[in-house]
């Protein structure tokens, strides 16, 4: 009984959305529109709830001895730096103070963190070469080839690289990723069907 209610809900909602996709009917459109709106509201509520829970958890961690107080304080201060200007301003996220926080703090920090990936990749590659030399070598050679092919260079060298990049993108890469996309879609469809027919394992 417990399993049948969510399954019935999934079947009902899925069929409604599918029918709306196939049949032009104002009533059906209104019903599926309302369902989609409900999902949007659920998403928004989940995001707000997640933020509140994060704040509560880290506020609690500040009071606990032996916890990562500095980390929790940083999380709370970071949230406050973004939230307070937005809540105080009448135009919310469009307020100049919020734009300044994003432009002067969040974007440079985010970009710097991603740039650090390059630095950490090199020691990781060295370690990989020592532990699993063959596998790591294949990955690194492939990565170097792709990076070189995608280099924006002009002249004859650039033209040759461009031709190579076009071939790699259009033939092997496209084949692999098209196969992946189709495979993932099929797997999702099979998993959904198994769930609908009650064939999924008890742990699903």
């Amino acid at each position: 009984m417990r399993r049948s209610i969510p399954a019935a809900l999934v079947v009902g909602v899925g069929l409604l959305l599918l029918l709306d996709f196939l049949v032009v009917n104002p009533t059906l459109g209104a019903i599926s529109g309302a369902i989609v709106e409900l999902v949007v509201i659920l998403f928004a509520a989940a995001a707000v709830l997640g933020a509140i829970l994060l704040a509560v958890r880290h506020a609690g961690a500040l009071a606990l001895p032996g916890g990562d107080r500095i980390g929790s304080a940083l999380v709370l201060v970071g949230m406050a730096i973004v939230l307070v200007p937005g809540l105080m301003a009448t135009d919310g996220a469009a307020a100049p103070s919020v734009r300044w926080v994003v432009g002067a703090l969040v974007v440079p920090i985010g970009a710097s963190l991603l740039a650090l990936v390059a630095v950490f990749l090199i020691p990781a590659a060295r370690r990989g070469m020592r532990l699993r030399p063959r596998d790591t070598a294949v990955i690194l050679v492939a990565a170097c080839v792709v990076v070189v092919l995608l280099l924006p260079l002009g002249g004859d060298v650039g033209a040759a690289l461009g031709d190579g990049a076009t071939w790699v993108l259009d033939v092997p890469l496209r084949a692999v990723f098209a196969g992946l996309l189709i495979g993932v879609s099929l797997a999702a469809a099979v998993a959904a069907t198994r769930f609908l027919f009650g064939l999924a394992g008890t742990d699903d």
Binding site: A47, G110, A118, I122, L151, P152
Partner: protein, 282 residues
């Protein structure tokens, strides 16, 4: 026993960052920027956006803060091309990061002299892919005012009210989500994309199948597209937001990084060969 090269090894990451930074600065100073190699996708996007003319363009702005620097020159060049052509630009975001970046770009366009009536901020829409689906029927918020908002409401107030969509990707909600959720419902709306290299593999099949009307991805195509917009012979002298001011990333730091990577890997291989030899001698 202390490793003789331990200090040097510990400073290598710092040296790497310093060399890349110096390489970037030298590259900019000496104008060692990229040559715009052949990139048919970039030429095609340039031609397609030029055809839009004074049309209504929706920019789905969901770039990622970390990778936005890679595609920013192409995004700004695309916005400049749309401004030159006389198109109206409406921006919507489905991710908080995208919303933050979209606000900055809208602000830049306003400061660049684009008439307020040609810009519309459609804001942040919650719900991820469900939000996208909801946008098919209604994307113009109630509080939006002005002639552009009114015209969009007259045309149905959904994504179908636009002539084309330009998706700025990088986050989870990239061109793939737009094709899956929007193109299937509104096949008449052309969807274009600009994405970083990390999203290139998953976006390429959609470009090849024609579900994406155009796609610029990765440094090569970004450079080629920026060059195509900057050197467009059909537009005369332009000012403000219609100008292309951002330079695509230089190849020099990438080459320096590759060289350093190769040196480090050679060192790793050499030390691996040395280790058994030492063991054998002992």
């Amino acid at each position: 026993m202390t490793e003789p090269l331990g200090g040097l090894r510990r400073t290598l990451p710092l040296a790497f960052v310093a060399i890349v930074a110096v390489g970037t600065l030298v590259g900019i100073r000496l104008d060692l920027g990229p040559g715009a190699g052949p990139a048919p996708a970039a030429t095609s996007l340039h031609a397609d956006l030029a055809e839009l003319g004074r049309g209504r363009v929706l920019v789905g702005f969901d770039a990622d803060i970390g990778t936005y620097a890679e595609i920013r020159p192409a995004v700004r060049a695309a916005l400049a091309q749309l401004v030159r052509g006389g198109a109206t630009i409406s921006m919507v975001s489905y991710t908080p990061e995208g919303r933050a970046l979209a606000l900055a770009e809208l602000d830049r366009l306003r400061r660049g002299g684009v008439e307020p009536g040609r810009l519309l901020d459609l804001g942040f829409h919650a719900g991820a892919e469900a939000g996208l689906v909801a946008g098919v029927s209604s994307i113009v918020p109630r509080e939006a005012d002005g002639a552009l908002a009114a015209a969009l409401r007259d045309a149905g107030a959904g994504i179908g009210a636009f002539d084309a969509v330009l998706v700025v990707g990088g986050n989870d909600l990239g061109p793939r989500s737009w094709v899956e959720q929007v193109a299937t419902r509104l096949p008449e709306v052309a969807i274009f994309g600009i994405v970083p290299t990390s999203l290139l593999p998953q976006a390429v099949p959609y470009r090849a199948s024609g579900q994406l009307a155009g796609l610029v991805a990765g440094a090569r195509e970004v450079a080629a597209y920026v060059a195509a917009v900057r050197d467009d012979p059909t537009t005369g002298a332009v000012q403000g937001a219609a100008q292309v001011t951002d330079e695509p990333p230089s190849s020099l730091p990438v080459l320096v990084g590759l060289l350093l990577t190769l040196v480090l890997l050679a060192e790793a291989i050499a030390s691996r060969w040395r280790a058994p030899a030492r063991g054998g001698a002992a």
